[in-house]
Symmetry: C2
Subunit: 231 residues, 2 copies
């Protein structure tokens, strides 16, 4: 924290970097990390860069485009777990958990991932890796491709839901109160399972859900029997 204050070096921190797509995306990601998804706007990104919102349109088509660029850039920074010799299921789980943690690691990113759709190199290397694992498990092309989509969408939706609850100003207790205000005669099971419905921390629930999906993907056609020696 406390370093000897160096003579102000302008070299390490240019006063006003020239605009570029990269600079804009980086500033937008910084802003979102600070103020959340709802604090992100073209005008504020521009202000961060000491310019007006109109200037950004040279590099970015519109807000949605910036969202997609931000998501792909953030995913590109994510570190993929070692591609070791673990069985496909463990490898898939650690990749998915890393993805989940990346979404949780930067404020606003989970919601961005549910809103925007990234198809650039940052997102696609995750697809490539997961596709490799599911094909290696013996699934055919369609099952592997749709499986990757299913797994990543589920991870994204879980992260977004949890982030939305936190950011939405909706206290978790108030949801529970609403459920418990329902007439017990008409909703006996919901009432009886309230504890289970609201139990489980974020990552625990997410890991459970992903395991169930992997169970489903492994269970039906396409899996070579005897691969897992787990049965």
């Amino acid at each position: 924290m406390n370093e000897r204050t160096p003579p102000t070096s302008r070299r390490s921190r240019p006063a006003k970097p020239p605009l570029s797509r990269e600079v804009i995306v980086a500033a937008a990601l910084d802003l979102m990390a600070r103020d959340g998804f709802s604090g992100l706007s073209l005008r504020r990104v521009a202000a961060e860069l000491d310019t007006g919102a109109a200037s950004l349109y040279v590099y970015v088509a519109n807000l949605g485009h910036l969202h997609r660029l931000m998501l792909d850039a953030a995913l590109g920074e994510m570190q993929l777990p070692e591609d070791g010799s673990a069985p496909w299921r463990e490898a898939a789980m650690s990749l998915l958990l890393a993805y989940l943690q990346a979404l949780h690691g930067r404020r606003g990113l989970a919601r961005l991932a549910m809103t925007a759709l990234a198809a650039g190199p940052g997102a696609m290397r995750i697809w490539e890796r997961l596709l490799h694992l599911l094909r290696g498990a013996g699934m055919d092309g369609r099952r592997a491709a749709w499986g990757v989509d299913l797994l990543l969408l589920q991870a994204t939706a879980i992260a977004a839901e949890q982030a939305g609850r936190d950011a939405g100003g909706l206290r978790p207790e108030s949801i529970r109160e609403e459920v418990e205000a329902l007439p017990e005669e008409r909703y006996p099971l919901v009432r009886a399972h309230a504890d289970d419905l609201f139990s489980g921390g974020g990552l625990q629930r997410a890991a459970w859900a992903l395991e169930v999906i992997l169970d489903g993907l492994a269970a039906a056609p396409g899996v070579r029997p005897g691969l897992g020696e787990t049965l």
Copy 2:
């Protein structure tokens, strides 16, 4: 306002219904059906009711609250499939497909369902029904409760993703073009599976995903080694 000589029965069609939570929610749902989620705003709902946005705050805490009320009301109108004597899996699938079709049936609803979180009677009767089916299949309380959450979240996410693509002004081809512009050496599997990744209509993909999750839920828990037991 006009008390003398009513030419027709004003009882059947009041010119300006008095404000109430129900009237506001109905007007909001109508507006969204017409102009989509992005066309929905408190100001426009108020204009629809011949008043100002400030007037709505007597009945609704804020925009997020209105979203939740809208979602619950829309789900409450949804017709659940007959509670016949079908096996639990078929019954669950037809319930989930009905939910999916409800989300697709009203413009903007899918995105609303991913954004808002409904815990009122309209949403809870779906939870109640699904909970009943999964418990009937022999799952314990936690597995059934988390399973319902998983299934409904997946259905919602699929619907929202598809709706978002349509509404976001993002042509599906342009995503594919972006994927196919990636260097083949680094993303060979993504490129090789492009057809599979983009294949399948909305309901087909959704039904496949839900079947996979049901497979996973139906599979005996604990067959996998390691990871699962740390919960």
